[in-house]
């Protein structure tokens, strides 16, 4: 094989615009203060740490069956479809972007199948993505937009996640805390030829050297029976060494250049709700364009994995601070393993 490549086609094909019809989040009612969680996990909650994190509390499921990851995902999906006024039977693909372990072991099981069944999207197929940290949302967004724009038989996608944290593992890297993680779910309805929220482009980048910068070492093939390793771990040295804001700015510049835009054309930037320290670095790299909704959501919810972007996007749209035609950049460094930038025209 390998001998049948013709010269590249010069013609550029017209691509259909794909946009966000609706978004929703479903978060547990129960909240835990960060101070409580630090105490519970034996971590030192100093004033310095409190300032660096900038997180007051996080939503956590309290054991109610309605708040399993997949049940919250189903609730978020139903709400998003209702807001979009989309009949579930017209959904062509369900795209899942969770990061935390699910009810059963992925990839043999994936909540997207359950979501498909319970929302009644019986004509769709499902696809889920692994390994991108919070950038998994942008991977899902980019892939879904590509499927809708390139397959004439497909028009509507339901993007969905539900993430529940591991008890005793809400403070990431307790010795030198990086973030505090909460539970939650979100969903987005994408449609070809949607009137707004157009997904213009997504730039994705990964560093294979950092494939294990943030992972759960126990519970699968390498450490099948060591429950003490069933914890999300971060290699803080490699995490700190990764040039997060610089990478995101470089990727944004590339993406904006392809669109014929500059950062000055962008109305605002949405980042992941990791910490105030992380946001300050992003703010500096993006010339103070990070929206205030990020800080507000970070304080009240902490880091909700892939749900950070839908949550911030919803808050932004509800705030009335963006107008039709404004450009919004979503950026996520995926802890240094997978970085992603998406450009949306509101």
């Amino acid at each position: 094989m390998g001998d049948s490549v013709s010269p590249p086609l010069k013609k550029k094909f017209m691509r259909a615009a794909v946009g966000i019809l609706a978004a929703s989040c479903h978060l547990p009612q129960h909240r835990r203060s960060v101070e409580d969680l630090f105490r519970e996990e034996g971590a030192n909650f100093s004033t310095d740490v409190a300032i660096r994190l900038g997180i007051m509390q996080v939503p956590l499921q309290n054991g109610d069956v309605s708040e399993t990851a997949s049940n919250m995902a189903v609730a978020a999906a139903k709400k998003a479809l209702q807001r979009a006024n989309v009949d579930p039977l017209t959904v062509d693909v369900v795209v899942e972007y969770s990061i935390m372990p699910q009810e059963y072991l992925v990839p043999v099981w994936n909540m997207s199948n359950k979501v498909q069944a319970e929302v009644g999207a019986s004509k769709s197929f499902v696809v889920g993505f692994s390994g991108g940290g919070s950038s998994n949302f942008m991977v899902a967004l980019s892939s879904a937009a590509a499927m809708l724009s390139e397959n004439t038989s497909m028009k509507t996608a339901l993007l969905v996640t539900g993430d529940t944290t591991i008890p005793g593992n809400r403070v990431l890297n307790p010795d030198d805390p990086v973030t505090v993680m909460g539970d939650g779910a979100s969903a987005i309805v994408l449609q070809r030829d949607a009137p707004g929220g157009v997904v213009m482009d997504t730039e994705l980048w990964s560093d294979g050297n950092n494939h294990d910068v943030c992972y759960i070492p126990g519970g699968s093939l390498i450490h099948p029976d060591d429950i003490s390793l069933y914890q999300m771990q971060l290699d803080k040295v490699r995490y700190d060494a990764f040039p997060k804001p610089e990478t995101l700015r470089r990727m944004s510049n590339q993406l904006l250049e392809r669109a014929g835009l500059k950062l000055s054309d962008v109305a605002c930037v949405l980042c992941s709700n990791i910490s105030s320290q992380d946001e300050a670095a992003t703010q500096q790299a993006f010339e103070d364009k990070v929206s205030t909704v990020c800080a507000s959501n970070r304080e009240s919810h902490g880091h909700l994995q892939g749900t950070d972007f839908p949550l911030n996007y919803l808050s932004l749209t509800e705030s009335g601070s963006v107008r039709q035609g404004d450009y919004v950049l979503g950026v996520s460094h995926g802890m240094g393993a997978t970085a992603a930038v998406s450009l949306i025209r509101y």
Binding site: L9, L105, S112, G132, G208
Partner: protein
């Protein structure tokens, strides 16, 4: 989809060590449920031995397959724009937090690539991943070369997937390129029946039962199948769903079933293969069988069946090849490759 995306190269890697079926059945737990089909699971399955990875990890199987395929293709790994891991059983570390895609990227030196993983579809993850990869390549001028890669290593005592099959360890890789004049992927169709989501699953350590701790079998890492639901809910719709995705992809590209020159189908069992062939009236000469002796290799079956048929000279220039499979979740997938 545009851009004439096609299969530039494909290959697979199987560990040298083999284990006989009789040894597998002796070592592993005996199924207690009854299978509706009128067959003897152990005698009629049509697979004699399995490949078993010893020290190699699941990621090693991915990496070995990727390296073999890249070497065969002659491409520079730095040309690769996308790496998509389509492994369908648990990998070295817990998913979806981790996938082998990044480790593959590092090992092969694909410094320009973006690496991710598709974690749905079971054995049909091959088709789901083809759909995603072709769409991403078609939609983005900057994605010209994609590497799809998978590596499956089952826990030592979980090769028996009663009542479906017995599984081997192995890895596979496929390189996709744009502007191909041969081996073009004309279309991909995938369908999912989500209500069957909990019929086939692996519990995970967080669902571990106290009585299983320290036992011979890490049951929380073994597949659990509800055989009664399998009999009642899956078997009756299986061929209908195959028909749906195959006719769906044929319709996408304006072809008919009689235009298909060759079928690549998974090696679940001899009776399953026979049922498929009879249902769709496929003569033996149009059907992949060379791969049967490897045992079932999850999603990698699609690659092994395709490569073995090519190597055996059973797929020729001008042939229209249908690759069709089903998988846990449950999903069915069909793709058409024009040679």
């Amino acid at each position: 989809m545009n851009q004439n995306i096609g299969i530039f190269e494909a290959n697979y890697y199987l560990p040298e060590t083999k284990k006989t079926l009789s040894q597998v059945f002796e070592d592993e737990e005996k199924p207690t449920q009854t299978f509706a089909a009128d067959v003897d699971f152990e005698k009629d399955i049509g697979i004699e031995a399995l490949h078993v990875a010893k020290k190699e990890t699941a990621a090693d199987l991915c990496i070995n397959a990727a390296k073999l395929t890249i070497a065969k293709s002659g491409i520079d790994p730095k040309e690769i724009d996308l790496i998509i891991d389509f492994t369908s059983i648990p990998e070295d570390y817990v998913a979806p937090t981790w996938s082998a895609a990044g480790q593959v990227q590092k090992a092969i030196g694909a410094t320009r690539a973006f690496a991710t993983a598709v974690n749905t579809g079971g054995c049909a993850s091959y088709q789901t991943t083809l759909k995603v990869a072709c769409s991403l390549m078609s939609a983005n001028d900057r994605y010209n070369t994609a590497l799809l890669v998978a590596g499956d290593k089952t826990p030592e005592f979980n090769h028996n997937y009663f009542p479906i099959t017995v599984v081997s360890d192995g890895g596979s890789a496929v390189i996709l390129k744009k502007n191909m004049t041969k081996r073009r992927i004309l279309g991909v169709e995938v369908a999912t029946v989500g209500r069957l989501h909990d019929m086939w699953f692996i519990p995970g350590i967080h669902n571990r039962k106290p009585e299983d701790i320290g036992g011979k079998y890490p049951r929380w890492l073994h597949v659990c199948g509800d055989v009664q639901r399998f009999n009642k809910e899956l078997i009756p719709i299986n061929l209908f769903m195959f028909r749906k995705v195959m006719l769906g992809v044929l319709k996408q590209v304006g072809k008919k079933m009689e235009d298909v020159s060759f079928f690549v189908y998974p090696t679940f069992s001899a009776w399953d293969l026979k049922a498929f062939r009879e249902a769709f009236r496929v003569p033996p000469e149009k059907f992949s069988t060379e791969n049967m002796h490897h045992g079932h290799l999850q999603e990698t079956d699609m690659v092994v069946g395709y490569v073995d048929a090519l190597n055996a000279g059973r797929i020729k220039d001008g042939d229209l090849v249908m690759l069709a499979t089903n998988g846990a979740g449950f999903s069915w997938g069909a793709s058409l490759v024009q040679h």
